[in-house]
């Protein structure tokens, strides 16, 4: 079973990697949104430094929401989703595989480009490191929660902005603790509590989100 799950992840990653702009678009979007802030609030060093964690987190959130609309749509159109639902392996694990490969494909690039953006917003090196760690812990939570919404909307045509409206309120805790860890790091305070809570959120969502996503996928197919 483990080999089946791994081959599925391999398949997912290969499939998206071959069409470069599928995974590049959210990355480009992320970079562009961050670039808009210095242009709109002014190139003031201190202000940008203060806003940088918030800017990067909000931009990452928006990029992830954009990428989530690809999570199940193509699979549903091609009939691959029906095969997944019929497969003998537990749906929860298959969903977890899809979510993991989605995270690797779409969130890793965001995390790797963050140092560059952090430098452009005048963040010192250790704060960039902390920010990357919060993104590393926080972005899977965003994908896990978003997968539930994406699965619910999979059979619905032209839902457009409904997905963000549905899941953004659920993203607030991750955003609060993610940005706050970076702010606390800039004040040289302890950041253990923020990381502990981000980790707890990740574990909680690892537990229940794939299950709910599976339930939602079955609903969408029955429609």
């Amino acid at each position: 079973m483990i080999s089946a799950l791994f081959s599925m992840m391999h398949h997912e990653i290969q499939l998206t990697r071959r069409q470069a702009f599928a995974w590049l678009t959210p990355l480009l979007f992320f970079v562009m949104v961050v670039c808009l802030f210095p242009l709109t609030v002014g190139p003031d060093d201190a202000l940008l430094h203060k806003m940088a964690p918030g800017i990067i987190w909000v931009a990452a959130l928006l990029a992830i929401i954009i990428s989530l609309s690809n999570l199940f749509r193509q699979d549903a159109e091609e009939g691959y989703l029906d095969l997944l639902l019929l497969s003998p392996y537990p749906l929860t694990l298959l969903v977890l595989c899809k979510i993991t490969s989605h995270w690797i494909l779409y969130c890793f690039p965001l995390i790797f480009i963050t140092p560059l953006l952090g430098l452009s917003l005048h963040l010192p090196a250790h704060e960039i490191g902390i920010l990357m760690l919060t993104l590393l812990l926080g972005t899977p939570v965003l994908i896990l929660l978003g997968a539930i919404g994406a699965a619910l909307l999979v059979g619905i045509r032209g839902h457009g902005l409904l997905l963000p409206v549905l899941i953004m309120p659920l993203y607030i805790p991750v955003l609060i603790f993610g940005t706050n860890a970076a702010v606390a790091a800039s004040l040289h305070q302890s950041i253990n509590s923020q990381f502990a809570i981000l980790g707890a959120l990740l574990l909680l969502n690892l537990g229940f989100a794939p299950l709910f996503t599976g339930i939602a996928l079955r609903m969408g197919v029955n429609q």
Binding site: L145, V165, P169, P173, I176
Partner: protein, 237 residues
């Protein structure tokens, strides 16, 4: 056993018959609580020593905020019943509660804002409780938006149930994270009214108003559910 119970009391038809009998009692209890709460709250309760008569908006604000929160829990509970036991009546209750809950949340936000203007000197403050009520409002709107785009009634019920359950799991996390965010950013501020012991003359009308708002929710819910049951029967035939 469960099936029998379902047929006897919880089928839409049986519920309709029971609710017709229940409705006048609820309306009566609501009228009593509401008139006592309103008269005692607006005229008999003494003015607050700090806020003068301005505090009397509390008799609308606090009950609507409480009702708004309670309705979300009712929705999530009905959602569990919908998803696990496929109870039709629970799904109807959930769908009908959403709009009422959204309106109560809106009312809580508006009255809070009106209360805030003379007391804090501003219409809006990023206070922990205000912010969590605002997020609750967004959760309600998301639920309504989701249900409005799904055509198939059964999928609509089940999808709504799922999102209500996910929302109720996240609600405490959101609430406490907002409190944590607020204490970090603001420190102790004037937003907390020091009211350790509220005078009984002020408290009893408040309790009556809370009961009245809950009963009002019950009345509106039953009316809406009756409509919904009839609507679904029409579509079936």
């Amino acid at each position: 056993m469960l099936f029998w119970f379902n047929q006897k009391f919880l089928s839409p038809k049986a519920f309709y018959a029971t609710s017709v009998l229940l409705l006048p009692w609820l309306v009566g209890a609501f009228t009593v609580c509401f008139s006592y709460g309103l008269i005692a709250g607006l005229f008999i309760a003494p003015a607050d020593y700090q806020q003068g008569d301005g505090f009397r908006i509390m008799y609308v604000h606090v009950p609507s905020a409480l009702t708004a929160m309670m309705i979300y829990f009712v929705m999530a509970f009905s959602g569990i019943l919908t998803l696990v036991f496929r109870l039709k009546i629970a799904a109807i209750c959930m769908t009908c509660s959403a709009r009422i809950g959204a309106w109560f949340t809106f009312l809580a936000l508006v009255t809070g804002s009106i209360w805030g203007k003379p007391m804090w000197g501003t219409w809006w403050i990023w206070d922990a409780r205000l912010t969590s009520v605002l997020i609750l409002f967004f959760l309600y709107l998301g639920f309504i938006a989701l249900q409005s785009v799904i055509v198939n009634p059964e999928t609509r019920d089940r999808a709504g149930a799922l999102i209500a359950i996910v929302g109720v799991i996240n609600l405490p996390i959101i609430h406490y994270s907002v409190i944590w965010w607020n204490t970090l950013h603001q420190g102790p501020s004037i937003t907390r009214f020091a009211a350790p012991a509220i005078a009984p003359e002020m408290l009893y009308p408040l309790l009556a108003m809370i009961a009245a708002f809950f009963l009002f929710y019950g009345v509106i819910l039953i009316l809406r559910m009756q409509n919904q049951i009839l609507l679904r029967e029409i579509k079936k035939t």
